[in-house]
């Protein structure tokens, strides 16, 4: 058996968390060092995924499969071109998140780091699971550390924010759970085999009415996570109240779980329902784009400005996903990574300002540039990356997304383009008010520029922004096959259905030979 690299990557942070319990509470730097070491090792191990990834096949790679609870519940992991980069994004950002909270978090450091590491395991688990049960376990389990991170280390309204976050997410997930049960039972009734394997579900053709309900179940869970308008209300609260690293992870990775869910489950499993709901979803995405942008314009708090900019950007990503063509979906995945980097970086910027001034209101700042030249440079790059300046990563993603949308629906594209204009408006305006102009607040005169640690965690982000902006090939080519395969699955399934409209589940035997079904049955027992 080969090296179980995905399990190692997923569960190494958990091991770190367990070790952390045994370090005495006063030794804060040992705890921080341990957490940092573990997140670093996870990142380096996960780099092997990138280099050994075979971009010629759409099949999942690094697959690990083991029997677990029976009845189709298996331990089944693997990644393809869609999840590869989300895994890498997660492992890349966690050391940065740990570094960024080095001095920011002073009380209960051990518990904080413990939850960070648990969160990393949960998130990675979501991206690598190929068994729907396993996926759901990680999807839900990941809420617990986030609940504590916001609720214990957050701002003044943290309890409200964290409960809202958990309850809204749970509302969606529980309905998704019911949909999973329905899929599971339909599959069993059609084939006589218990399975939670998503590749088995891909082969199943459901009647469109059932698809509609199931799509709503899955789609709601993912739409809340993304979040799409009108399910976005938890996001500004959670972002504003969360500690810096929590916001970074929330914006950069957690939101991507929603878009990932659409790509992995909602699209390929329910293509007919997707077609039915497509206009609605596209309109909601566009409302999200414009609404998020307008809301960002009027925010007084930098952090909630960035939070609303997330709503706007995620709207564009969702719209690109629903364009259902190669450019659109690759652009969406690429923009997911970009958004992770640039919004994550913006939250770090806010964190740096907040650590110095203990305020996040735009009106309290002004003229910061004169005191913090290095910081100014980093801020500028991150801000421009989020705006989508050519040469930086955001441009590539946005242009691909817009190309995709344009191909599928021109009017949507015209409307979606406002995201670029609005982003430029609210970000540049905010930058100008915070960094330039006269120094309004005497505290600013005592600001120290970024220290070595802060520069150390910003440099990799900046490098990635330039790399992804200048040479996107090294990322896009790894996704091509998987995205094409996904599209084929969505489009062809639709055609199959149009050809033979049947008001029932097509029996398994018509899709795969009986022999194989029997074999799988054996395997499952």
């Amino acid at each position: 058996m080969s090296f179980p690299i995905l399990s190692v990557v997923t569960f190494l942070p958990l091991l770190g968390a367990i070790l952390l319990i045994f370090i005495p509470a006063p030794k804060k730097n040992v705890q921080r060092g341990l957490a940092l070491a573990f997140t670093f090792v996870v990142f380096f191990v996960s780099l092997a995924l990138y280099f050994q990834f075979d971009s010629t096949t759409p099949e999942p790679q690094f697959v690990e499969k083991a029997a677990w609870l029976g009845y189709g519940i298996n331990y089944h992991m693997g990644i393809d071109g869609i999840s590869l980069f989300l895994v890498l994004l997660t492992t890349f950002l966690f050391p940065i998140a740990v570094l960024s909270s080095w001095t920011y978090i002073q009380k209960r450091v051990k518990e904080y780091l413990l939850f960070m590491l648990l969160l990393e395991t949960g998130i990675l688990g979501v991206f690598v699971s190929l068994n729907l049960f396993l996926f759901y376990v990680f999807w839900e389990a990941m809420l617990i550390p986030m609940y504590f991170l916001i609720g214990v280390w957050g701002g003044p309204r943290r309890i409200y924010a964290t409960l809202k976050f958990v309850l809204m997410t749970m509302f969606g997930s529980l309905l998704m759970l019911v949909s999973i049960f329905v899929l599971y039972s339909l599959y069993y009734k059609a084939t006589g085999v218990y399975s939670f394997n998503i590749f088995d579900y891909y082969k199943m053709i459901l009647n469109p009415q059932v698809q509609g309900w199931l799509f709503l179940g899955f789609g709601l869970a993912f739409a809340i996570k993304v979040p799409m308008f009108p399910f976005h209300t938890w996001l500004p609260d959670a972002h504003v109240e969360a500690p810096t690293a929590g916001s970074v992870i929330l914006a950069a990775v957690l939101l991507k779980m929603g878009t990932y869910g659409f790509l992995r489950f909602a699209l390929p499993l329910f293509p007919d329902a997707l077609m039915k709901f497509l206009p609605l979803l596209a309109v909601l995405s566009i409302i999200g784009i414009i609404y998020g942008g307008l809301m960002a314009l009027i925010q007084k708090d930098i952090k909630s400005l960035v939070a609303y900019s997330s709503v706007s950007h995620m709207g564009l990503i969702m719209l690109a996903v629903f364009s259902l063509n190669l450019e659109g979906i690759e652009g969406a995945i690429y923009q997911m990574l970009n958004h992770g980097l640039s919004t994550g970086a913006l939250f770090l910027i806010v964190g740096i300002l907040y650590e110095r001034s203990h305020t996040r209101l735009i009106k309290d700042f002004g003229g910061v540039a004169s005191q913090m030249p290095v910081f100014t440079a980093f801020f500028l790059v991150c801000m421009l990356s989020s705006v989508g300046l050519p040469g930086l990563n955001g441009f590539v993603g946005e242009i691909l997304c817009l190309f995709g949308v344009f191909q599928s629906h021109k009017i949507y594209a015209y409307l979606a383009i406002t995201t670029v204009i609005l982003a430029a408006a609210y970000l540049l305006w905010m930058y100008q008010r915070v960094m330039h102009g006269p120094v309004k607040n005497e505290k600013i005169l005592s600001f120290k520029d970024m220290n070595g640690r802060e520069i150390a965690y910003f440099v990799p982000i900046i490098i990635m922004m330039f790399w992804m902006g200048v040479y996107p090939q090294s990322f896009l080519r790894k996704m091509d096959t998987s995205v094409n395969h996904l599209l084929k699955r969505v489009r062809n399934r639709e055609k199959v259905f149009v050809r033979e409209v049947e008001n029932r589940v097509i029996p398994w035997e018509q899709i795969v030979p009986k022999k194989r079904a029997a074999e799988e049955k054996k395997g499952d027992e």
């Binding site: 029976g70 049960f133 990680f138 809420l143 309890i159 529980l174 049960f181 329905v182």
Partner: protein, 478 residues
């Protein structure tokens, strides 16, 4: 197979109870905890016998008392539960002024009642077991003699419980009149014959349902639960929330599960149960939202959990029902153990306000309590999640999708009040008054064992599932 060995586990427990009762007279007040250890010894012997009798199918008194795998599994479960309760009592009774050796004898007698209920196929014998259990429970509830609320709990429980028993007996009389026997297989055959069912037997069945609905606290027969749970000594409350409930469901399993899919009149009973299940889940969870006393929150949560378990009854999935009961035992006793841990001599901290900040002040107590609450709320990777998962997935397979949707939404509501306790524990500043006596090894043993159970059942329940499958295989297949 008729064999007098079938009586052994029961005889051991009853003998233990009587011995404890006699020895109690000779022991000084400080030394009552020896009785606890003695009781645990008897429990271990009984548990050992249960393990040895696995797959043997011993029966005696002409099948009126038998030990099939289901009875053995549940007996083992009850032994574990009672052993936990005894460990929790050891310190509690001396610090909370309930230092009566009778508590151990009563616990063992209650256990014998539960064992009789689960190991009989005669409804009259089941009633006998129920009464042994109930009367022990009434006495247990009133054990804190100087506390008014304890007395109120005992009286309330006794009065309402007697009514429920009366209903049950009346129901049994109707059933006997209709079918000519109180042996469960005969009664079931009578119902399966269909046409002959008639109003009499249906009324009988409904009254039996009322009787058991009271014991397992189904809405609308739940009114006694919060007051009794609040007033009774906390370890006893832990037993109430697990033991009688599991025994009651075991009887429902034997009596009701096999009536369907018969349509017609028994279809009515199905819908009655459907409505009761919805009411139990919804009302239990909604009312719990408004509570500020942790014992009352757990009381309403136990009502809601009865609703989820009833979903398993409706889905006719015996294995997931038993699994739920097993998981529920560990997580609920664990949660009560943590509540008991938060006490000192003569004082229990039960209001939500008292829990402020204790998560960081007492890290192990806080963390384990939080895990039990997450498990009760149904978060993975704990037993509570897997239990709900099995129950609801079975229900979907039985085409009960609307019921499942109501169920998951009700459990969403429950997430709020479970998390609220955690909010107080971890996200509020300590009020400063709470000063507990943390030195209590027996309690921490229980906490640890329950934690182990919750995680083992949540992540690697393989072996238990095999046992459960063997246990439910002993039910008649119809």
């Amino acid at each position: 197979m008729s064999n007098i060995a079938a009586l052994f586990p029961l005889v051991i427990i009853v003998a233990g109870a009587l011995l404890v009762l006699v020895l109690e007279v000779f022991l000084k007040r400080e030394n009552k905890s020896y009785l606890g250890f003695l009781s645990i010894l008897f429990l271990i012997v009984c548990g050992f016998l249960c393990v040895r009798f696995w797959n043997k199918d011993y029966a005696y008194f002409g099948q009126a008392l038998f030990l099939d795998n289901l009875a053995l599994f549940l007996a083992l479960l009850f032994c574990v539960a009672v052993a936990f309760i005894i460990l929790l009592c050891l310190k509690y009774i001396s610090s909370q002024d309930a230092n009566h050796g009778e508590i151990f004898a009563l616990l063992l007698l209650a256990l014998s009642g539960m064992m009789i209920m689960t190991s009989s196929s005669d409804l009259l014998v089941i009633f006998l077991g129920l009464e042994v259990l109930s009367i022990s429970c009434y006495a247990l509830a009133g054990l804190r003699r100087k506390d008014e609320r304890s007395g109120e709990a005992a009286l309330k429980y006794f009065l309402l419980g007697s009514f429920a028993s009366a209903f049950l007996v009346l129901g049994l009389a109707f059933l006997y009149g209709a079918s000519g026997s109180l042996r469960i297989p005969v009664v079931i055959d009578h119902f399966r014959a269909g046409s002959a069912a008639g109003l009499l037997s249906l009324a009988g069945l409904a009254l039996v349902l009322v009787g058991f609905g009271f014991k397992i606290a189904l809405v609308p027969f739940h009114m006694w639960t919060p007051d009794v749970y609040e007033g009774a000594p906390t370890p006893v409350t832990a037993l109430f929330s697990v033991g009688p409930k599991a025994a009651g469901f075991a009887v429902l399993l034997r009596v009701f599960l096999n009536f369907w899919p018969a349509s017609g009149e028994t279809g009515l009973i199905f819908w009655v149960l459907w409505v009761i299940s919805v009411l139990t889940m919804v009302i239990g969870n909604l009312v719990a939202l408004r509570q500020t006393n942790v014992k009352r929150i757990l009381a309403y949560s136990s009502i809601a959990h009865a609703g989820y378990i009833l979903v398993a009854v409706l889905a006719k999935d015996n294995a997931s029902l038993i699994f739920y009961l097993t998981a529920y035992l560990f997580m609920n006793i664990g949660a009560f153990a943590a509540v008991i841990g938060l006490s000192k001599k003569g004082k229990e901290y039960l209001e939500l306000e008292d829990f402020a900040g204790i998560g960081f002040k007492y890290p192990w107590l806080g963390a384990t309590f939080a895990i039990f609450l997450f498990s009760l709320a149904g978060f993975p990777p704990t037993a509570g999640f897997l239990a709900k998962f099995y129950v609801f997935s079975a229900a979907v397979r039985a085409d009960l999708v609307p019921l499942v949707i109501i169920g998951v939404l009700a459990s969403l509501v429950s997430v709020f009040y479970y998390l609220r306790i955690i909010v107080y524990m971890y996200m509020r500043d300590p009020s400063g008054e709470v000063d507990i006596d943390i030195e209590n090894p027996a309690l921490f043993l229980v906490l640890f064992l329950c934690l182990y159970g919750v995680l083992q059942l949540g992540i690697f329940p393989g072996n238990i599932l095999v046992l459960i499958k063997q246990a439910v295989a002993s039910l008649p297949v119809l």
